[in-house]
């Protein structure tokens, strides 16, 4: 029986999951919206994976489960992951498995963006956007809505533009007023869209690649990498070939699946339940009043039993558990 590994990347906007085999090939994958509810999204994504496996007549033996993305701790506890890792490491590992000679990873997701610099297969530097979501997928999709087009078509429309509009790149508030203004004085829609793609790229480079040298090979991933207009804008701006993998949106999930394989050194089978959709999970948030830190603690319940807690700096938060258990 072959060994399989599950990787789940729960982002703020979308949840991605893959199942890989022992040779790190993606067997099945799924991509859905998180819709603000990571546990529900995880249940759904796992059910989808299960159905896809059944279509392929595979009955998997699971040897590793990993979670990454902003809800990694919560979901990791829920599914019983054997590894929970940050998305920066996961992305690097995922991309390295496909492009061993990658030097620069550009990643633009729904709410965040990052740049990862590698040298000889080792992460040597990275940056992540901090305060502001300018130049991310959320901005592009809100502007697509404003212009009345589907986000999926945005890239193709952008490629038809011959003279992209100039749109401010520093801040989405400025970009938006620029966009409205240019639209009202008669710029063509495709020029506006191409201008938007350029402004996302400029914003990204200004915010993240400060002081970093972007060297070949450059791989672009995350949801926004599906937008050909942004890919082209990167190529023009950096004057380099940009590689976009067909699974560019799954690299984080792939990376964490690989890490879960590496973490399972004893190669024991993991007790993983695909029927997770029937299990009731509940979370309860409590503010610990043990001291002035007022730590926020989240208790996770599986079928009304506490299975884990997140948060809390000291042992005092354990005492709270007895109180919470009665809720």
């Amino acid at each position: 029986m072959d060994k399989y590994y599950i990787g789940i990347d729960i982002g703020s906007i979308s949840t991605k999951a893959v199942i890989i085999d022992d040779d790190k090939n993606i067997v099945v994958s799924d991509y859905i919206w998180t819709c603000g509810s990571p546990i529900e999204a995880t249940k759904k994504v796992i059910t989808n994976l299960d159905n896809k496996l059944k279509e392929k007549n595979i009955i998997p033996k699971i040897y590793g489960v990993g979670t990454t993305g902003s809800a990694r701790n919560l979901v990791g506890n829920v599914v019983g992951a054997n590894i929970i890792k940050n998305e920066i490491t996961a992305h690097a590992i995922g991309t390295l498995s496909r492009y061993p000679d990658v030097r620069t990873i550009l990643e633009i997701g729904g709410q965040d963006s990052k740049i990862i610099i590698l040298n000889q297969g080792i992460v040597v530097d990275y940056a992540m956007n901090t305060l502001c979501a300018a130049g991310t997928g959320a901005f592009l999709s809100s502007q697509a809505k404003r212009l009345g087009i589907d986000i999926e078509n945005m890239g193709d429309i952008a490629l038809t533009s011959k003279s992209p509009s100039k749109i401010a790149a520093r801040c989405t508030v400025f970009a938006e007023s620029d966009l409205v203004h240019k639209a009202q004085i008669g710029h063509k829609k495709e020029d506006l869209i191409a201008g938007l793609c350029n402004s996302v790229v400029k914003n990204y480079l200004n915010n993240l690649s400060r002081g970093k040298k972007i060297e070949d090979k450059v791989v672009f991933q995350g949801g926004v990498s599906k937008n050909k207009g942004v890919v082209k804008a990167f190529e023009n701006e950096l004057n380099k070939k940009i590689y976009v993998d067909e699974n560019s949106h799954l690299m984080g999930a792939l990376g964490i699946a690989i890490l879960s394989k590496e973490a399972n050194k004893e190669e024991k089978e993991i007790d993983f339940d695909f029927n997770i959709k029937d299990v009731a999970f509940k979370t309860v948030g409590v503010e610990c009043s043990g001291c002035s830190n007022n730590c926020e603690i989240i208790y996770i319940y599986k079928n009304n039993k506490v299975i884990d807690k997140i948060g809390g700096r000291c042992e005092k938060s354990n005492l709270l558990q007895n109180k919470v258990a009665n809720i």
Partner: protein, 370 residues
């Protein structure tokens, strides 16, 4: 409300409230004055502090304001503020104005003048709340306080650099807690030295002899976020829990007594990158980074409050060092936000990066030497 005439309070920074308490208890006239240690740093401190501070001021100002307001509400009517070489230098005046505009009535004592510590001027200010205070006593107590701070710094440095090697988890933290409690009431040099030996022995016994391979991280940057763990979301503690050795240069001892003398050395040390001071601790950040690189540290964390100009000056230089010396440096900026998730993610990734690097270097060595 207290029945005493004066209730004296001051802003928090790290555990320095302990020697400050010790010093003040000797300077005041106990019949008329009481010391009020400000409330422990909490979300409330920063919430209330931000509310009454200019939005764009650096975050230590907001913490100080929070401490002051919390103390004033508990009856404090004498406030003490230090000062420094950057915006910190005008905190005192602005805070006094804001607090008076808010309707509080209090006396205000500043410790640092633009030219540095002028002990005569400071004495004059304390004399206003304690007429019996003699200059000779004042000076002696001051010197004693400096010694106490020195020992506190040494001890905390020892804890910081050894907590990752402790035999039983949590032991050093307990010893540290008792240390602080006892230091408050030390009165003579004899007591102080006995106290010092006792606690160093306790701490040394709690530490393993085997100090095997760990990831070594140096922290450089602005002084407040370096010294007040609440403002850096307990960064150092987080690092030790992840199994790192943490080195930090900035302490009060360093700032008050070593920094001035060290300036020339820093300029020499950093001469390939800087040829003059960058304001406040900017030059130190550069020079210390180079020192950490030469001492084989695995990575460096640079921290600052949002908008800290001297450290912003240092950053492009640090980026250049990072490129040229091939050392990972990560930059954190703190403001009044209290969400830890972003910082944890970045720290975790930073550590993964260093662990991978280390493994790779070891592997390469094995390949070379067989």
């Amino acid at each position: 409300m207290s029945s005493k005439k004066y209730v004296i309070s001051f802003p928090h920074i790290g555990n320095y409230y302990v020697p400050v308490y010790n010093l003040l208890s000797k300077l005041i006239d106990k019949d008329t004055t009481k010391i009020l240690v400000p409330d422990k740093m909490s979300k409330n401190t920063i919430d209330i502090g931000s509310k009454f501070s200019p939005e764009y001021i650096c975050v230590p100002f907001k913490y100080n304001m929070g401490n002051f307001i919390e103390s004033l509400n508990k009856g404090a009517n004498v406030l003490i503020q230090a000062g420094g070489g950057c915006r910190y230098g005008y905190y005192a005046e602005i805070q006094e104005q804001i607090l008076r505009d808010m309707g509080y009535d209090f006396k205000y004592i500043t410790l640092l003048d633009p030219e540095g510590v002028n002990i005569k001027k400071v004495y004059g200010r304390f004399k206003k709340i304690n007429e019996k205070l003699k200059f000779k006593d004042f000076a002696l107590h001051f010197i004693f306080a400096i010694k106490a701070i020195n020992i506190l710094d040494k001890f905390e440095t020892y804890i910081r650099e050894n907590i990752v090697f402790e035999k039983n988890k949590g032991e050093l933290e307990k010893i540290h807690k008792n240390f602080l409690e006892e230091l408050k009431y030390i009165n003579s040099y004899k007591e102080l030295y006995e106290f010092k030996n006792k606690y160093f022995n306790l701490a040394k016994n709690a530490v393993k002899n085997d100090k095997s391979d760990v990831i070594k991280i140096g922290i450089v940057g602005e002084l407040y976020t370096s010294m007040e763990p609440f403002s850096s979301m307990f960064l150092e503690k987080e690092l030790s829990q992840m199994g790192c050795f943490v080195k930090r240069y900035t302490t009060v001892t360093y700032l008050l007594f070593e920094k001035g003398r060290a300036q020339k050395g820093h300029l020499k040390n950093a001469k390939d990158y800087v040829c003059h001071s960058l304001g406040a601790d900017g030059l130190e950040s550069v020079s210390h980074t180079l020192e950490l690189v030469n001492n084989g540290y695995d990575g460096i964390i640079h921290i600052k409050p949002f908008g800290c100009t001297p450290e912003i000056n240092a950053m492009p230089i640090l980026q250049k060092i990072s490129r040229e010396k091939n050392i990972p440096i990560i930059y954190f900026t703190f403001d009044s936000q209290t969400s830890e998730a972003g910082i944890k993610t970045r720290l975790e990734a930073f550590l993964d990066m260093m662990v991978m690097r280390k493994e790779k270097i070891k592997k390469n060595r094995r390949e070379v030497y067989g």
